[in-house]
C-alpha cells in the first residue's frame, strides 16, 4: 500500500495522470511554471514507447500534438499564459478539425510575460475565448494535487469522446504545491480510447454528422486517406462555401458538446440547501472558500459553497437551479483576477440575488479570512 502513496506536486500529478490516461505524445516548449510536466514526460514517455519532443515554440508544440493525434496517439502539451497565447492559433485549428488534444495551462500572472512565478486565475476567459471564431471550449480546473491527476485523465477522456481540445486550467500554486497523493490502482480510473471506424474506406466520412453528433475517427495510416483542413469543410473534410454545409458544420461543433452538458459539466456544491450566502470559487481559491465557509458555519452563519470543476462550458440550467436555492440572497465570487467568472454568475442568478466580487490580483492567494470578512459584510 505504502508505495502507492506519494508526496507530489500538481505538475507531477499532471504527468502521472497523463501516463495513466494513456498519453503517447507530448510536444512542448519550456515555460515557468509548467516546465516540470515536460521534464517528467521527457523521461517517462520513451520508457513506454511514447514520444516526447521539445519544439521550437508553443505554436509548433500545439501543431505537433495535433499531427500526432491525427496519427493515432493520445497527445498533450503544457504551458502557461504567454505560451497559451501563442497556442490559440493551433487550438482553434483543433476545434475546427475536431482533433482530440489536451492543453494544460498552469496559470501565472499576466498580462504579457507578467509574473512567471506567481499565482493567478486571469486566463479564465482566455481559456474560453482565446481563439477566434465560434466554438465551445471544455475547460477543467482542479483544486488539489490528487484532483489534478484525476482531471488530467478526465481531460484526455473528454478529448477523445468529443473529438475536441480540452484545457486543464491549473495555476502556479497548485502546480508547485506538494500534497500527499494516493496513486490510483490500475483500473481505478476510467480510461476512454478513441472510437475507430469499422466501415470500408469508401463509406468513411471523417467529419460525419450523425444523429448524436459523435462520429468514429480514423488515424492517418489506417487506410482511410481522409482530408483535414482548418477551412470550413463538408463531412468528408473538403473545403466548402455552401451555406447549408457551413451551417451543418458549425452547428455540429456546438451540438456535439452542448447536447452532453450533463456528462461534461461537474459542479460541486456544499451547504446550499439553507444557505443565505454562497461562495463561488474554482481551483486553488475554492480551498480557501471551503475553509471560510466552515468558519462561517461554525459561527452559525448560513453559508454554502459552489465549486465549478468544469469551468467551461457553463451548465446554465444546473447553475440556475443552484442559484434558485430558496434562501439565497447573495453570491460572493472569489477570483484571482479583476473579475472574470463573475460575469457568468451575474448572467445566471435570479434578480433578487446580489452578486459580490472578491478579487485579488497582487500575486498572492485569497485567504480564508478575506472570504470570511466578505461573508460578514454581506450578512
Amino acid at each position: 500500500m505504502a508505495e502507492n502513496i506519494r508526496l507530489m506536486q500538481g505538475n507531477e500529478a499532471v504527468a502521472e495522470g497523463a501516463m495513466i490516461g494513456g498519453l503517447r505524445f507530448f510536444g512542448g516548449y519550456p515555460i515557468t511554471p509548467s516546465t516540470e510536466i515536460a521534464e517528467i514526460l521527457a523521461r517517462r514517455l520513451p520508457k513506454v514507447g511514447g514520444k516526447f519532443i521539445q519544439m521550437e515554440d508553443e505554436i509548433a508544440s500545439v501543431a505537433a500534438i495535433i499531427g500526432a493525434s491525427l496519427t493515432g496517439s493520445k497527445s498533450m502539451t503544457a504551458t502557461s499564459g504567454p505560451g497559451f497565447s501563442l497556442m490559440v492559433e493551433g487550438i482553434g485549428y483543433a476545434y475546427m478539425a475536431e482533433v482530440p488534444t489536451v492543453i494544460v495551462n498552469v496559470q501565472r500572472g499576466g498580462p504579457s510575460t507578467g509574473l512567471p512565478t506567481k499565482v493567478s486565475q486571469s486566463d479564465t476567459m482566455q481559456a474560453r475565448w482565446g481563439t477566434h471564431g465560434d466554438y465551445i471550449a471544455i475547460v477543467l480546473a482542479p483544486q488539489s494535487v490528487r484532483e489534478t491527476l484525476d482531471l488530467t485523465v478526465r481531460a484526455m477522456n473528454l478529448a477523445e469522446v468529443y473529438r475536441t481540445p480540452v484545457t486543464l486550467l491549473t495555476d502556479e500554486v497548485l502546480g508547485h504545491m506538494r500534497e500527499k497523493v494516493t496513486i490510483p490502482e490500475e483500473g481505478e480510473l476510467e480510461i476512454i480510447n478513441r472510437q475507430k471506424p469499422d466501415v470500408p474506406a469508401s463509406w468513411y466520412k471523417h467529419f460525419e454528422i450523425t444523429p448524436n453528433f459523435k462520429s468514429p475517427m480514423a488515424s492517418f495510416g489506417d487506410g482511410y486517406r481522409f482530408h483535414v483542413t482548418g477551412l470550413t469543410h463538408d463531412e468528408e473534410g473538403f473545403p466548402t462555401n455552401k451555406s447549408v454545409e457551413i451551417l451543418a458544420k458549425l452547428t455540429k461543433l456546438r451540438n456535439k458538446i452542448m447536447r452532453y452538458l450533463d456528462d461534461i459539466c461537474q459542479i460541486e456544491t456544499d451547504g446550499m440547501e439553507d444557505a443565505h450566502v454562497a461562495v463561488y470559487a474554482y481551483g486553488i481559491v475554492a480551498r480557501a472558500a471551503r475553509q471560510a465557509v466552515q468558519m462561517a458555519r461554525a459561527r452559525r452563519m448560513k453559508v454554502g459553497q459552489i465549486r465549478p470543476i468544469t469551468i467551461w462550458p457553463s451548465h446554465d440550467k444546473k447553475y440556475r437551479e443552484i442559484f434558485s436555492s430558496k434562501n439565497l440572497e447573495a453570491v460572493i465570487v472569489a477570483e484571482l483576477n479583476q473579475g472574470q467568472l463573475v460575469y457568468e454568475v451575474q448572467r445566471l442568478v435570479p434578480k433578487h440575488v446580489e452578486v459580490i466580487s472578491l478579487n485579488r490580483f497582487d500575486s498572492e492567494l485569497i485567504t480564508p479570512a478575506q472570504i470570511l470578512n466578505k461573508i460578514k459584510e454581506v450578512r
Binding site: 520513451p46 505554436i59 499531427g67 496519427t71
Partner: protein, 275 residues
C-alpha cells in the same frame, strides 16, 4: 503523354470537385505532377503517405490527391508534419509549402525542421510572391521587384533558399524548376528517398501577380525565361563567377549523411526497454 496522364489520374481524388484553385498556366500543377510520378516510381503504399501543407496557393495541392492529407495553418505545415512523423515513423511525410508560408511566417519551423533532421521531404514551391492574397512581396521576392505591397520596388533582400536550408542542417537540398520537369521528377524522387530532412525548391511562375507587376509576360514567357536563366550547378562550377552571376542555379546543393531523428529516438526507446 498518355502514360503520364494515366499515372496522374491514379492519384487524384475522384470525389474532389475540379477545377482546382490555380490560375491557368500556374506552375504548381506541374510540381503536383512531378510529385505524383516520384511517388509512383517509388511504389509507396499510399496509405502510408501523408501530405501536409500550410496556407497559400501551393498549399492547396494536397486536397486534390488521394493520400492522407493535412491542410494546416499558415506557416505551420512542418510543425504538424513533425507530429505526424514522430507519432508514426513508418509514414512517408511530404510537406508542400510556398515561399511565404515556409520562409516568412514559417521561417522558424523551417530552420528547426532542417536542424532536427526528421525524415520529412519538404517541397517548397517558390514563385517569389504571395499569390493567394494578391501579389504582396515575399521573402524571396528579388530586390527592387514590384509587388502589390512594394509599389515602389522591394527594398528588402531575398533569402537564398538552398543556402538557408543547408546552413540549418538539411541533409538533402536541391532546386529544380517547373520548366525542367524531368529533373524535378528526379529531385523529388531523390528527396523522398533520402532518409533525413530533404528540401526541394521548385522554382515556379506566378504570371498573374509577379509576372504582371514586373512585366515579365505570360506563363509561357516566364517558363521560357526559366529555361534561359537556369544553370546546372555542375556547369556553373566550370564557369567564371561573372557568368554565373544572376543565374538560377539548379541541381543538388547538398546530400550528406546524418542519423535521422526518429531512428535515434527509436534507438532510445529500445535501449530504455532493454531490447
Amino acid at each position: 503523354m498518355a502514360q503520364r496522364s494515366d499515372i496522374t489520374h491514379k492519384y487524384l481524388r475522384a470525389k474532389k470537385k475540379f477545377p482546382n484553385v490555380w490560375c491557368a498556366g500556374c506552375g504548381i500543377g506541374i510540381v503536383m505532377g512531378s510529385l505524383i510520378r516520384a511517388i509512383d516510381k517509388l511504389e509507396l503504399d499510399r496509405d502510408n503517405v501523408t501530405l501536409v501543407s500550410g496556407i497559400g496557393c501551393s498549399s492547396r495541392m494536397p486536397v486534390y490527391l488521394d493520400f492522407n492529407t493535412l491542410h494546416t495553418t499558415h506557416g505551420r505545415a512542418l510543425a504538424f508534419a513533425t507530429g505526424v512523423k514522430l507519432a508514426n515513423p513508418k509514414m512517408h511525410v511530404i510537406v508542400i509549402t510556398g515561399d511565404g508560408d515556409a520562409l516568412a511566417i514559417g521561417g522558424n519551423h523551417f530552420i528547426h525542421s532542417c536542424r532536427r533532421n526528421m525524415d520529412i521531404t519538404c517541397i517548397l514551391i517558390n514563385n517569389q510572391i504571395y499569390g493567394m492574397t494578391g501579389g504582396q512581396f515575399s521573402p524571396t521576392t528579388p530586390t527592387d521587384s514590384y509587388a502589390s505591397t512594394a509599389p515602389y520596388g522591394n527594398k528588402e533582400y531575398p533569402f537564398d533558399i538552398p543556402k538557408l536550408a543547408e546552413a540549418a542542417g538539411a541533409t538533402y537540398v536541391a532546386r529544380g524548376t517547373v520548366y525542367h520537369v524531368t529533373q524535378l521528377d528526379q529531385l523529388i524522387y531523390d528527396g523522398i528517398k533520402k532518409r533525413g530532412f530533404s528540401l526541394v525548391e521548385a522554382f515556379s511562375n506566378c504570371h498573374t501577380y509577379f509576372g504582371r507587376l514586373n512585366r515579365l509576360g505570360d506563363s509561357v514567357k516566364m517558363l521560357e525565361d526559366m529555361k534561359k536563366n537556369a544553370l546546372p550547378l555542375k556547369a556553373a562550377a566550370k564557369m567564371p563567377p561573372e557568368k554565373v552571376q544572376g543565374k538560377l542555379l539548379t541541381g543538388v546543393f547538398c546530400d550528406v549523411e546524418r542519423e535521422e531523428y526518429c531512428d535515434r529516438y527509436d534507438a532510445l526507446i529500445q535501449s530504455l526497454q532493454g531490447k
